[in-house]
Amino acid sequence: MNIFVRLRKRNFISYISLYIIIFLYSLAILADFISPYPYNKQFRDTPLCPPTKINFFDKNGKFHLRPFVYEYKLVNPSLNKYEIDRNKICPIYFFVKGERRKILGLFPSRRYLFGVKEGKIFLFGTDMHGRDIFSRVLYGARISLSIGIIGVLISFFLGFLIGGISGYFGGKIDNVLMRLVEIFMMFPSFYLMLALRAVFPLNLSSFQVYLLIVIILSLIGWAGLARIIRGMVLSIKEEEYVLSAKALGIPTFRIIFRHIIPNTFSYSITAITLSIPGYILGESTLSLLGLGIQEPYPSWGNMLSVCIGNLRILSNAPWMLIPGFFIFLTIICFNFLGDGLRDVCDPKNW
């Protein structure tokens, strides 16, 4: 608990970032409940519909306590022109009934956080298939945000283990492990990623692809980290407090994991938070090339990939870029958080 208080005192921006990150993750977890529509629900009559405006005043200037939306009607399909029908008021309700879905895959429910009884509500607009972008962003967060965390955990586990052992024991072990690391670092990571992906068949289920991406990304990530950890361990093991721990008769593995590794935290915590965005972007890159998470399941990366190179969308439907904003927000929050955590990890700053 202490760490939150310290974070707030020392680095307010990173404290706020922490809350934004927590908020984003809870959106991802509760996507089934918060999103008004399923991620694959297509509204064929409203493709590329702009974000629905939420109103309190109707066309006569009368105030409504309950916010409402108007219906959007496609008037010119070739130009994608929409008109707002101001005659029909569709009030927004909490806990409205909709299609049956399982919340968190466990609890079947028909009620969602908010929605409309008549008409439709697309907070972030729709894509060319008429799917609600807001709902898809929430579902996509599940992929994009968890890939970062899981990937980082795997590659940090490998990095600490291999870097720690290599640096501490040195000699032959170090030699062998570092050559292994160099093999991984030898290839430009982008091509390594493509090559690794190419080894596996294309027709995998979404879940398999997901696992595959996590593994590929962490296989790429751990090598550089292991090298850095090794370097730090190499210098920290010469520190005098390590000698005095040895003089106390503390066993070797305890020295590595209690005295040496924690002293790399001021660096590695920052590195961890700074590398999460890399995983999110890595997934987007794969999706962009059609090798990532496959439609209809959304990830922030594959939602963006549809717009890239499609000028019609970029000029007519800029709301399709909203997933990009979320990637940006996540990255910047993790960066700030990493900065703050580094300060907080060092007792000298307390």
Partner: protein, 316 residues
């Protein structure tokens, strides 16, 4: 009184350099030994040899070390871990860098506790020993950087003593401290002998302090122990020319207004040591033989000295 430590003809170094050459001595129960000598003569290396924590590039090349009758030169690293901190405690030269900055003092000392006891018991024990060292129990919760040098040194001593070792290796525990604080630490160490029933090897370059504190003094020069004997005798009538000069240079031996005396010449570097007695280049009474061979240990009464002046070598 029995011997608790016995070092026989130990040589430490690697292919290129020998840092310690033919070191032999023993330590009795409840004895305080001082090792004195100029900076760089190998005092710290001697202590680190005893607990087998030498720098990576240095090794024990020959010789034997017995601790409580056990030949520790033969022990494996795992077995040494059961001796370090439990039977032999060590206090280091520079307390601020020898404490891990990430953990509280209490945490670090507790970690060293050997037996499997509950957390509460451990804490009690740590606080008790901190108080014995003249520190308040608050120190338990503090981080190293929040303590002064003297407090850190006391915390180090507490850490070294937490398992009631029988031998304490103290590497210049007072050099970094002011006179009053240093004096506090010294009286603490003297008291510890009475309470904890332990022997101390105390490293210092202050021979007057050594005389005040210890039973015996070992004088070291360039990796060789040149003189060993009871403190008062060594101090009052030094045998080895190096010890004589060292004592002559002490400030308390000066008359008012006299020029500061130093020993002429320089400490030889370990890379190119003289073939014979390492002190011979600076020695005023040297002979031919001094430049050819390293003098053997010569016993004179209670004392042992390594100088060709004694015995009947000079003629040959």
């Amino acid at each position: 009184m029995g011997k608790i430590l016995e070092i026989k003809n130990v040589v430490v170094g690697n292919e290129e350099i020998k840092i310690l050459r033919d070191i032999s001595f023993e330590v009795e129960e409840r004895e305080i030994i001082s090792i004195v000598g100029e900076s760089g003569c190998g005092k710290s290396i001697t202590l680190r040899t005893i607990i087998k924590l030498l720098p990576q590039n240095l090794n024990i090349l020959s010789g034997k070390i017995f601790f409580e009758g056990l030949e520790i030169t033969k022990l494996k690293e795992k077995e040494m871990q059961n001796i370090r901190g439990k039977k032999i405690g060590m206090i280091f030269q520079e307390p601020s860098s020898f404490l891990n900055p990430l953990f509280t003092i209490g945490n670090q000392i507790e970690e060293g506790i050997n037996e499997k006891v509950e957390k509460d018991k451990k804490k009690e024990r740590v606080i008790k020993i901190l108080e014995e060292m003249g520190l308040s129990y608050n120190v338990y919760y503090q981080y190293p950087h929040q303590l002064s040098g003297g407090m850190q040194q006391r915390a180090m001593i507490a850490m070294a003593l937490i398992n009631n070792p029988v031998l304490l290796l103290a590497d210049e525990p007072t050099t970094a401290l002011d006179v009053t604080t240093a004096f506090g630490i010294i009286s603490l160490l003297k008291n510890l002998i009475l309470i904890h029933n332990l022997s101390i090897i105390f490293v210092t370059h202050d021979i007057s302090l050594a005389k005040y504190l210890s039973d015996r003094i070992f004088v070291m020069y360039a990796g060789i122990i040149v003189e060993k004997g009871p403190s008062i005798e060594v101090y009052n009538s030094p045998l080895h020319p190096y010890t004589q000069k060292l004592i002559n240079c002490l400030p308390e031996k000066y008359n008012k207004g006299e020029k500061i005396k130093t020993i002429e010449g320089e400490v030889p570097s370990f890379k190119n040591l003289p073939l014979g007695c390492p002190f011979s280049p600076r020695c005023e009474i040297k002979n031919k033989i001094c430049e050819k061979r390293i003098p053997p240990e010569i016993k004179i009464g209670n004392r042992i000295v390594r100088c060709f002046k004694y015995g009947n070598f000079m003629e040959s």
